[in-house]
């Protein structure tokens, strides 16, 4: 069950072990969402599926982007593109803490030698209009995961409550593998014929994006795209719930939510370009939140959101 066949040797082995652990616990193994997001929470498998009454259990890797965190690949711990491992189970099972600790054992953390702590850290996403209570989990003083019981998403009370686990994969893997600089981390098996380090794959991309994010991205275009995404999201949700072609009830929440995700990422890019003042910031966040809220309002009126005719 908890496969601790020795210490893992690479970044991907840690991901594979998490995948097989959570699969063994009954989670659906989903794939990353195919859009730019700031965190695993934005995946519709979390944001939308945490709404409504239907039970849910899913786990997935989500590539995530935070343009302001770019350091041209030079900082040992900071990246503008990184991976999160995300688990969402609704309703949260009573033994979620034990399940979580089992996953740490599965990736080779020896519970007898380390100091694992649950330290208060309430989670809030102003852009998603979501909040929950929980902890950051510390292993020997390092934050290795975020553990949250969702209370509200998109302004809706979560009933039942979802339990969400988010692992910062690079940081966790560096700790487990004993690596000091993320770019030095073995990505695949270090003894493979073609052994690749994290830096072999991502160093150049980090440089490219850091320059583009901070200095080059065309802010007029980004602003325009933000407005467009916002308008499209609202336009979609303004349409009648009935498809005139078939007479079927179709709310189009997912395409609308895509536009919300888009707007959120565009805002992050604008932020990295430094063209958003402190006061404007709040206004932009409010606009994205309004979209997230409308998507949530729509989702709970769909079958997947527990809506009954």
């Amino acid at each position: 069950m908890t496969q601790t066949n020795g210490a893992p040797r690479s970044f991907q082995e840690i991901i594979l072990r998490l995948q097989s652990y959570w699969a063994s616990k009954g989670c659906a193994m989903l794939q990353p969402y195919d859009m730019e997001v700031g965190a695993g929470t934005f995946h519709p498998a979390t944001t939308l599926r945490s709404l409504g009454s239907k039970p849910w259990a899913a786990a997935y890797v989500q590539p995530s982007r935070r343009p302001t965190d770019g350091r041209y690949g030079e900082n040992p711990n900071r990246l503008q593109h990184f991976y999160q491992y995300q688990v969402l189970i609704k309703p949260s099972p009573p033994d979620l803490q034990e399940l979580y600790l089992g996953s740490l054992a599965a990736i080779g953390i020896n519970m007898d030698m380390h100091d694992i702590r649950f330290v208060e850290d309430d989670w809030e996403s102003p852009t998603l209009g979501a909040w929950g209570l929980g902890w950051e989990v510390w292993c020997d003083g390092m934050e290795v995961s975020q553990f949250t019981y969702f209370q509200q998403v998109g302004g809706h009370d979560c009933t039942p409550v979802s339990g969400e686990l988010t692992y910062g994969l690079e940081r966790l893997a560096m700790y487990v593998l004993g690596i000091d600089h993320v770019m030095d981390m073995p990505f695949n098996d270090p003894d493979a014929p073609i052994a690749l380090k994290y830096g072999d794959i991502y160093k150049q991309a980090e440089e490219d994006y850091a320059r583009w994010n901070f200095d080059v991205a065309n802010t007029d275009v980004l602003l325009k795209q933000f407005e467009e995404a916002e308008a499209e999201c609202q336009a979609i949700l303004d349409l009648p719930h009935e498809d005139p072609k078939t007479g079927k009830r179709i709310l189009m929440v997912h395409p609308a939510y895509d536009q919300c995700i888009k707007a959120s990422h565009l805002f992050n890019l604008l932020d990295a370009r430094g063209v958003i003042s402190v006061t404007e910031r709040q206004a932009y966040i409010g606009r994205v939140r309004a979209l997230a809220k409308r998507c949530s309002d729509a989702f709970v009126q769909t079958e997947a959101g527990g809506w009954a005719v």
């Binding site: 309703p91 949260s92 007898d112 694992i116 390092m142 039942p160 003042s277 404007e280």
Partner: protein, 741 residues
């Protein structure tokens, strides 16, 4: 008598909430039990990260039976009345007792409310306590609706006596009470069955749980100081951190770790803040050098390698954190040595408030004001301006971005690195003070000037855009800023007419907000100069506008009428804050009002001096009696003036005086007038009031002997004019009509 043991076992409770939660559990349970008739001998609450525990000893086994006696109808009363009484009492007729009373035989009912077993009451009170527990933040989990701080897993609730222990049955949303708990999550997992508090505490200790937070904190502190001492070092005391750390562990294990040499050159505050905020480490200092050289971390378990792996991990995390801090520090120092221009320029892109412009614009205004304030507080104007221009530069530094709480302090370090004068460096740190009411007030002149300018710019700015505090809402901490100004002025005995600074700074805000109206801007610039030279807004406006040729911009017309109101309103806000401040120091509000009503009330030092003298005077017999005399004189005079429609301000003439007491009062007034005026001139209010006290006897004698409203109109008017002299003399010191009593 049985003892009660309750343990509410949950997922990890935030450290900061544990102590209060223990107290709330104890209070709500004992209050509820006592109210239901269950008294007890003693109660104590204990908390760990995963449990709230309450032990109550010497509890009654049942609530006492209560007997109530009710008087009923007379014997022989109609059946209906008797039946009604029986229904109310829940008895039958044969249970009634007949008793002779002076009014004849009457039925009495003796109603017995049987006591209830403790377990029933406990179950009720505990359920109510759990369901209504006052957590600062609580949550739901799973599919349930119960709220707790984090998921609640089990309830231990047992009553025990010599005969043994019994579970108090209880079921809250599927959580059934029992007699079991859990040991340490990692060191001793598994169920433990307990039979009473001592058994519980002993077994938990064996299962690596120290129940008492004070015991954990003591153990941590003892061990930390011992380990530091053994290394010739000392732990930097931090009670808040100690309490927090004690709330993060059930089995504290203190580990002393080294900070990499490469980080030891960082300022002590940076090391301390980084270690405390991010890692909850204690700082360990070399008492000889004051340098922070090591850290203490507290783990929640023992390991077979004596914590070596845990310590190594913590050290690694710390090094990564400090590498960031060092990187910031070195980058920042480079910028500082180059003169910090990059930072001050960057502040033009930082919005202070969307209606009040950027930080850079704000700094410009503060610098101008600091220059003007400088002479008033004895500071060099050039230094004050220079300090104001760099005081907020550190907001652009990387270190302050990372640790906002180090703002100001980093400013001092960077100003020193830049080779700026020491007064300037000090002002960088001190100009934020005083923050809280107990915070020290800066005394160095340059710091005082910048601090005042900073706060006054904020206040006038938010007044200019009409964003004043209302009720409990004060998002920009303007009350605190005003109190800061008050404490700075009073603490440094500074003599300044605030009005003039209000007007000037309001004008600067107007200029900033007038957009591209260059004509208005020029006019306002001229007014600023006028205020600078003459200090009065009204005349400055007139001087500038009267010489203006052509149509006045509309903006200027508005300004002319609105700005003095805004300024007056702001002064009123200061007076309100001052009243609160002085009331805390025991000065009566009516005394303050009497002084606020005087001219020059924007000179707070003078105002307070006056108020203190008046407060003292009013505590003396002379003061109290003089006040009565003054009020009598003033009332008679006011009534007469209203009736006659004239003001008796010509001054009386002793030659029309009829009565000896009248003559004596004229003479007393003549004798004291000079002394009072010169004392007021010298701002010696105590002396002025002392001289006024000499008027008390003649005034009393005057009212004793004469009727002011004499039939002879000449005499009457002369007396009214005499009363006016009293009003005038007394009115020089304060507006006594506002004093109560």
């Amino acid at each position: 008598m049985p003892d009660l043991l309750i343990e509410l076992f949950s997922e990890e409770i935030p450290a900061r909430m544990q102590r209060r939660a223990g107290e709330d559990l104890k209070k709500r349970m004992t209050d509820g039990l006592v109210e239901a008739g269950l008294t007890y001998a003693g109660a104590h609450a204990l908390t760990t990260p995963r449990r709230l525990t309450l032990a109550i000893d010497g509890l009654l086994a049942a609530s006492p039976t209560v007997r109530e006696e009710r008087k009923g109808p007379k014997v022989g009363a109609p059946d209906k009345a008797i039946e009604g009484f029986l229904r109310g009492a829940g008895l039958t007729r044969d249970q009634l007792e007949e008793r002779d009373t002076p009014k004849g035989a009457v039925y009495f009912a003796s109603i017995e409310k049987p006591g209830r077993p403790a377990a029933d009451i406990i179950a009720e009170v505990l359920e109510a306590t759990i369901r209504n527990f006052p957590w600062p933040k609580s949550m739901r989990w799973g599919a349930g609706s119960l709220k707790w701080v984090r998921p609640l897993h089990s309830i231990l609730c047992i009553l025990s006596d010599e005969a043994g222990a019994e579970v108090v049955p209880l079921d809250i949303d599927g959580i059934k009470s029992g007699n079991t708990t859990q040991g340490h999550r990692f060191m001793a997992p598994g169920e433990i069955t307990v039979s009473g508090f001592d058994d519980y505490a002993t077994k938990l200790k064996r299962a690596n749980v120290v129940l008492d937070p004070a015991e954990r904190a003591d153990a941590i502190w003892q061990d930390a100081t011992n380990q530091a001492f053994a290394n010739g070092l000392e732990v930097v005391e931090d009670k808040g951190l100690l309490a927090e750390v004690a709330g993060l562990v059930e089995w504290p294990v203190v580990l002393l770790g080294a900070i990499d040499d490469e980080f030891l050159s960082l300022p002590a505050e940076v090391l301390q803040t980084s270690m405390k905020e991010h890692q909850k480490f204690f700082s360990v200092r070399n008492p000889k050098t004051g340098r922070i050289e090591k850290f203490i971390t507290v783990a929640n378990r023992e390991t077979s390698d004596n914590g070596a792996t845990i310590l190594a991990g913590n050290q690694k995390v710390l090094s990564a954190r400090l590498a960031d801090a060092k990187f910031f520090w070195e980058n920042d120092l480079r910028v500082a040595k180059e003169g910090m221009e990059v930072w001050t320029e960057a502040l033009s892109n930082v919005t202070f408030h969307n209606k009040l412009g950027s930080q850079a614009e704000r700094i410009d205004r503060i610098a101008s004001l600091a220059r003007e304030i400088a002479p008033v507080v004895g500071a060099d104007a050039d230094l004050a301006e220079q300090a104001a221009r760099v005081a907020k530069a550190d907001l652009s530094s990387e270190m302050v971005y990372e640790f906002p709480e180090l703002q100001g302090l980093m400013g001092r370090y960077y100003a020193e690195a830049a080779g700026l004068p020491q007064e300037v460096a000090n002002a960088c740190e001190e100009h934020y003070s005083p923050l809280g009411p107990s915070d020290d007030v800066p005394t160095e002149a340059v710091s005082v000037a910048v601090s005042l300018a900073d706060k006054l710019d904020t206040l006038t700015g938010f007044w200019a855009i009409d964003e004043k505090p209302t009720g409990s809402k004060d998002p920009f901490a303007l009350r605190r800023a005003a109190l800061g100004v008050i404490r700075l002025v009073l603490g440094n005995d500074a003599r300044a007419h605030l009005d003039r600074f209000f007007d000037g700074q309001l004008l600067r805000h107007e200029i900033a907000q007038s957009g591209d109206d260059s004509q208005s801007q020029k006019l306002m610039g001229d007014m600023l100069k006028e205020i600078g030279e003459h200090g009065v807004f009204g005349s400055a406006v007139r001087t500038v506008l009267d010489t203006f040729d052509g149509d006045l911009p509309k903006h200027m017309e508005e300004l002319k009428s609105s700005l003095p109101d805004v300024s007056t309103d702001l002064l009123g806000f200061f007076h309100d804050r001052l009243k609160v401040f002085l009331r805390d120091q025991g000065i009566r509000h009516d005394v303050i009002d009497a002084c606020i009503a005087m001219d020059g009330n924007d000179d707070l030092t003078l105002l307070v001096k006056r108020a203190r003298a008046l407060e003292d005077f009013m505590k003396s017999d002379d003061g109290e009696n003089l006040l009565q005399g003054f009020k009598r004189a003033n009332n008679i005079l006011t009534q007469a003036e209203e009736k006659d429609g004239v003001e008796y301000s010509y001054g009386g003439d002793v030659k029309f005086a009829k009565d000896a007491s009248e003559i004596a009062l004229f003479e007393a007034l003549a004798a004291s007038e000079g002394a009072i005026s010169s004392a007021i001139e010298a701002e010696d209010f105590a002396a002025a009031m002392g001289s006024m006290a000499a008027l008390r006897a003649p005034i009393d004698a005057f009212f004793e002997a004469v009727q002011v409203n004499d039939d002879n109109d000449v005499v009457r008017r002369n007396r009214l004019n005499l009363l006016h002299q009293i009003r005038q003399v007394c009115g020089q010191v304060a507006d006594l009509t506002k004093v109560e009593g």
